[in-house]
């Protein structure tokens, strides 16, 4: 039994063949799990099912032993685009999840400030999202997802629109923070090396099913060198071949 357990999930949009078809997935507490796949393979739908944004037609999802029928405060979600509220400052954006639940306290502000410090945005508290670069916006979105210290974090290709160097920086930040808070992560991407670098376990999805799963045996914490090691590249190649075969 994992921390997040997905059992035999099926989901169909009206009148089409199943987008997610009989998927099983279990993620251990504190593990970093990546889901790879081409666009249209159903990975985003699976993530929405897992986070409770969509209700499955069949099967069930359990978080920490409890059934998940709707979104929970125990989960953070980072979307493909930063989805920051343009009319709120960086600080207010990060605090939004708490603002919606209760009155803010000084502690909350201190916590948000610490988070922003951790992702290198401590000088930007009072800026507005449009005044930030794409990478900075993604960082704010990450901080917002983490402000409630969720034990479970879902990320839907959060770094897809960023340049390679910025993406690597953000990957480091993400790994560091998740390690620190012992967050369980389900991360979706179409970038093979990103998946291999980040995760403890990689799964490949195609046509609504998981077709391949593999442990990643890289030392923690990750270092830049690993990206160019032979184990890393071999694993990337294997995954790549599996993804090509899936196309046939």
């Amino acid at each position: 039994m994992g921390f997040l357990t997905i059992k035999d999930i099926t989901y169909t949009y009206q009148g089409t063949s199943p987008v997610v078809n009989g998927v099983n997935l279990a993620i251990e507490k504190g593990a970093f799990h990546c889901l790879l796949g081409k666009s249209g393979c159903g990975k985003t739908t699976l993530l929405k099912l897992a986070s409770g944004l969509l209700k499955p037609d069949k099967g069930c999802i359990q978080l920490n032993g409890k059934d998940m029928a709707e979104p929970s405060h125990e989960c953070g979600f980072v979307f493909q685009s930063p989805t920051l509220l343009e009319w709120k400052t960086v600080m207010d954006n990060v605090l939004l999840p708490i603002t919606l639940r209760r009155k803010l306290t000084e502690e909350d502000r201190a916590h948000a400030a610490a988070l922003l410090e951790m992702i290198g945005l401590s000088a930007y508290h009072n800026r507005y999202p449009t005044q930030l670069s794409g990478g900075q916006q993604s960082r704010v979105a990450l901080a917002r997802a983490l402000i409630q210290k969720p034990p479970m974090l879902f990320l839907d290709e959060p770094f897809a629109a960023l340049d390679a160097i910025t993406r690597e920086e953000l990957q480091e930040d993400l790994l560091r923070i998740c390690q620190l808070q012992n967050t369980t992560v389900l991360f979706i991407t179409h970038d093979i090396s990103e998946a291999v670098y980040l995760s403890d376990r990689v799964a490949v999805m195609d046509k609504g099913s998981i077709i391949y799963e593999e442990e990643v045996n890289l030392a923690k914490p990750r270092t830049m060198k690993m990206r160019y090691g032979s184990y890393f590249n071999d694993l990337c190649l294997t995954v790549r071949q599996i993804m090509s075969e899936a196309r046939l």
Binding site: K48, L53, F79, T83, L85, P97, L100, Y128, T130, Q131
Partner: protein, 251 residues
């Protein structure tokens, strides 16, 4: 583009000069010269002849605009939020807009008398629709991912409306208000045309009866100024709001 304001002003002067020359050999009854109009305008303002009319018309516009916009905004939100209400009410809303509202003015005067009430109601009715339409569509088409974010955060319907839909739709709502402001002037003036002894619209009708064309032009200028001032006020409000976060993207 730097001197565009200057050119705009020069064009204005040029047009005025052409008008002055052209008016020189025409009857004052048909086309009074700008200098004559200006004289009438200033004299009327100085001796207080216009004051009561200006106050009356402005009051009608502001009251009608406030009333109509408020109702338009509220019903726009209700219709944007509830598909049931949208489907239930939209035929009536469309019908109420298909009726030429200005043609209803005589009826309103019959119902509400020659006083201010009838004009305020005509104005409100005209302002109602642009606000309703813009509010309804602005809050309906909010970025889907942001809506999902709010669902993920378990925000209530009310919170989603206050924290997401209204702020996100505000620039659309304000552009509806801008349209309403201009229409409000039309509403008030038409109301005064049909029945009224006070207000700039009534003054225009009176000046027609007195064959005092400079007075008519002076009233028109005053109406234009009222309209422009209100329009600018909305613009300033919008800039204040957008300035906060649009600074970098506008360039």
């Amino acid at each position: 583009m730097k001197n565009i304001r200057l050119y705009s002003f020069l064009l204005f002067i040029l047009l005025l000069a052409l008008w002055e020359v052209r008016a020189g050999n025409m009857s004052e009854l048909v086309l009074p010269a700008p200098s004559v109009i200006l004289h009438t305008l200033i004299e009327g303002l100085m001796n207080g002849y216009f004051t009561a009319h200006i106050i009356r018309t402005t009051l009608e516009i502001v009251l009608g605009l406030t009333l109509g916009s408020l109702f338009g905004f509220i019903i726009g939100i209700l219709m944007g939020e509830s598909e049931f209400l949208r489907k239930l009410l939209s035929p009536y809303i469309i019908a109420s807009q298909a009726v030429p509202k200005l043609a209803l003015a005589p009826l309103f005067i019959l119902w509400f008398g020659f006083g201010m009430t009838s004009k305020v109601i005509i104005t409100a009715l005209i302002c109602f629709f642009p606000l309703l339409e813009n509010t309804m569509s602005s809050i309906q088409y909010v970025d889907k991912q942001k809506l999902e974010l709010f669902r993920m955060l378990k925000a209530s319907r009310w919170q989603t409306l206050i924290h997401l839909k209204i702020p996100a739709g505000l620039s659309g709502i304000l552009s509806g208000l801008r349209v309403a402001v201009v229409l409000a002037v039309v509403g008030a003036v038409i109301g005064e045309f049909i029945g009224g002894s006070e207000g700039l619209g009534a003054l225009i009708i009176a000046s027609q009866g007195m064959m005092d064309t400079p007075l008519m032009f002076a009233s028109l200028i005053l109406l234009t100024i009222i309209g422009m001032v209100l329009y600018q006020l909305v613009n300033i409000a919008e800039k204040r709001w957008l300035k906060l976060y649009m600074k970098e993207t506008k360039k």
